[in-house]
Amino acid sequence: MFERFINIYSRINPRRVPENSLGLRLSVLAAILTAEIAILSMGYYDTLSVLGVPTLTTAGFAYSWKYRQRRNLLMKFVLSMLVIAVAVLFTRELTINIYDTRLPLIKLLLWLQVLHSFDLPARRDLKFSLASGLILLASAAVMSTGMVYILGLAPFTITAVIALIFLYISEASQQADRVLEARPVQVIAYGAFAWLAGIAIAVPLLLIMPQSSQARLHAQPVSNLQKILGDFTAEVVNPSYSSGGNPFDHPPQFSPESYYGFNPYMDLRSRGNLSDDVVLKVRSDNYDFYRGVVFDRYNGKGWEISSETTTDITTDSPPFTLSDSEYPVIPVKSRLQSFYVQTEMPNIIFAAWKPQQLFFPASKIKVDDYGSIRSPYQLTEDTVYSVISEEPIFSASTLRRYPRTSDPPADFQYTSLLESDDMQVVASLSHEITAPYSNRYDKVRAIEKYLKENYAYDLDIPPLMENKDAVAYFLFDEKRGYCEHFASAMAVMARSAGIPARVVTGYSGGSYNPFTALWEIKQSDAHAWVEIYFGSAGWAPFDPTPGFEVPAGQNQGQSPWIAGKIFSYLGDVLGGSAIGGVLATASGAITGVLAFALTLPLGLIAGIVLGMTVLVWIGQKASRPLLMKRRRRRFLIKSLGPDYSSEKVLRDYLKLSIRLQQRGLVRRPDETIREFAERVSDFLDSREFVELSEMVEQIRYQKVSLPEPSDSQARKLVEKVIFKLKTKELGAWRSRGLF
């Protein structure tokens, strides 16, 4: 029985010709290790995997090299059992988080690669290994959130190219009867050149490749769950700002590392420039605003949150279900966002409005009356969470119908204002702007437009004067300011017109990185906007800041062409430099051209492409006889020698030879001119070509100058030969019944 099993097992694992090229094995190992390190360095896996996988892979390659001549049946059997064990572990890990299967899958691939490395006797096994290395690298591409991936991609391509070269040499050497030696340095140098050639072609290809802006398969990644025992404060805690007491009684605080709007208050006296450090990376199909804190009470110097009430939501495993949709009358679109936190942040869970499901690494969260979400702890670097939002799609025609008379009114705090002279002046301005309109939506749009057109966005403004109302100072004195000044002004003006309004702080969408497919949000992308109440249509966002538009309700899809995105991204990265400006302009130009191209009907585009292809094909076919003629002429010229052009006889002979070639009468390399002439004469049944050839021989080989009439004589001979050729052709056609 045991012997039978051994026989069956032996037949399943036939002996293969061992691969003896050490260069090939080392280069494949280098490629595999590069791919493994590219994944393991992302920080998703434990120390055992990070250290164990590369070490065991190297050990496996060494083992395979040493025992490549043996059958290693026992080792294969052990490996088979280990594969089953790894599969069982994978299934177990899959059940822990069914919403994100990527990490367990990649772990499975890594350990399969490790096991496979112990069984690589033949060239074919090494090829499989290289292919699995490519799969690992592709997995790393999916998981990567930064540009650091290129540090894994570049070495992998180099080592893979060198491995392929060694593979090619190994295959060719096996087929050849004899192999001449080459130094490894020469091979590697050529490999480097080949790599550069590949990159040179890859770059323009990348620029013209279309890229989808929307993912069709979604995962909801979330970092490791933390159990929260006990309660926690719902107040916004920002470690960059000190808390305690009334902040408006003290001088304003500002930290470039954190937006002052992410506090329980927003001090409009604060001045300063936020840093350009990336704080969040978001995977989302669209550009969006990510909501953080909502303020509803204006005190002349800033905003506060009037309600401290929150709702606790707990779960044992993700997701949190936040609320049912409260937009029964407005169409909504489901949006998935995955947030990768890059630095320490306040305990605010940012999300696009309106979050329905939250995949967050905690067992408990709090939601305030304004729909803002609080985390039980400050967000740390490498925190990952995902949100599914139902984004309302507001349109002018819809909002003009709301609020209806049957809709409940907004709470009092959304229309309350300070009683001061400054507020009176603001109110009169508001009334002046909104007087022509009867509709709430039109009034709000009028205020928004007024602010956009008459005030400037400026980060360099002087401090707020003492005893001055912040909104009034902005509207009537300074007339320029930050986004929170614009938002505050709009909210106050709306309230003056009796329209419920509140101010929201959060992040704008950031800039899109086409390599990682993530939106990179900097600290300086912190933003403030306004929400207006429209009864049963809910709270609709508006943005009065010049240069900003509310993305909600608009499908701000990306252009499908990578070229424009790359230039745009590089322009953002290089900022205000000259190169950045050039790239930004280039991006605009490319995007514009491609956008125009995309507006054309698909049929027209297809027709243009097809037409150009056909034209190229026709041109190629048509030019072929001409090129062939030129080639033949060059050949004949060479064979006749350099002095042909000085003799008309030789030129005529050349022309005639070309015609004969076209009819299949070609002088063989071993045929003399005289022999060829005899053959042609037999074919044509006339001696004119022989006479002409004799003249050519005399000029060419005997260097005899023929008497003057030789030119005309040669011409006559040529004409006769041509006539004979045509007669011969006609006869052939007649015999074939074509005439």
């Binding site: 991936y149 593979l167 020469q186 080949a194 497919a517």
Partner: protein, 400 residues
Amino acid sequence: MPTRKTLYWLLAAVLLYLIAWNVGSGWLYVLTVLLTAFPLASLILSRINTRRIKPGLEVPPSVTDGEMLPATLEIINPSYWPRFFLDLDCRYAGSRQRLFLPLLGPRESRRISHVFDQPRRGIYSGADVKISSAAPVGLARSRRRLETNSPIVVYPRRYQLAGDWASGYKNTGYMVASAIPTRNTASEYLGVRDYRPGDNPRSIHWRTSARTGSLEVIEYARQSAMTPVFLIDTFSEADRGKGMASTFETAVTIAASLAQREAIHKRRFAIGFSPEDAAASGLSHSAEESMFWLAGVNATSDAPMDLQIKALPWPEITPVLLLTSHPAYARLDQSTLLEDFPHSIIIMLDGREFEKGARPRTPLMDDTALDQLAERLDSMGAEFLLVTSPDEVPLCLNDL
């Protein structure tokens, strides 16, 4: 042109692209582009790699079939750019050699000594050299086919034969024939003897038979000139077997061996693929001429050898026919050639033995037909020799 590997790469690129499209990962697009770019780079680089390469081959002017053929293969790169990973497939004189050259420097000429084993009989003008390269990574292959100017004559294999034709007059080449009256030959009256079965009834001397009461025949001593005319059958359908072990090649070897012996003895002979052809080329005693002819002859004829001759310029010759046992020669004894030259030597190669194991073609003469033919030829006075394998040749020839 792309290889199978290229298709796998491009398939992988398409798959990755589809995944990237659905998953929304930017780096996957980069990976897709790299997978697409390297085959494209290979298409261009492999094409550049084989351009302007010139092969050359230095060989001796002649060699004999089966001998080792020393040669020097020269590969020239006239370009300023090096060439990598060149596969050279050199076919010359029926022999083949594959070389792999990892590097050929700029403006470098590499001379490679090589020995072609087993060159095949023939006249060759040059080697057929295929230069191909799948550099740099084997994803696309470019091929060029070139010919070198390296003529060579590979003479047929021949055996050194001991002895000479079965005759008592080695120097003059005469032999005694049997007592059958023939045309075109001078005959000397020897006497009368008893009738033996097989004797031609025309030779019966009736007067003597009546006197003695038993059949008596007149015996003539025929003078035959042993000027062999070797006639080799080039009928393609009759050629059986493969390569050097085919009936045609064996026939050429036999003819070459015999012609060589004639030349050594400074005797004249003729050689051709038919009586007319032999007559056209005339008698000669030059080994070189005959070997040259034998080197170039091939079994390409569509019809059997024409043995219904009208006249030959030589009245006293001995045709030596080298034929395969094709049914077309079943009535060989009734041909005009055999009628005029009944003392011919027929060396027949039994095609059935030569083509053993191969797919059967037109049936050949069986044992009965062969026996009958042998009997008839024997009665005519012809010498019939059946060869069943190339290994028998030396033995058979030494018996001739």
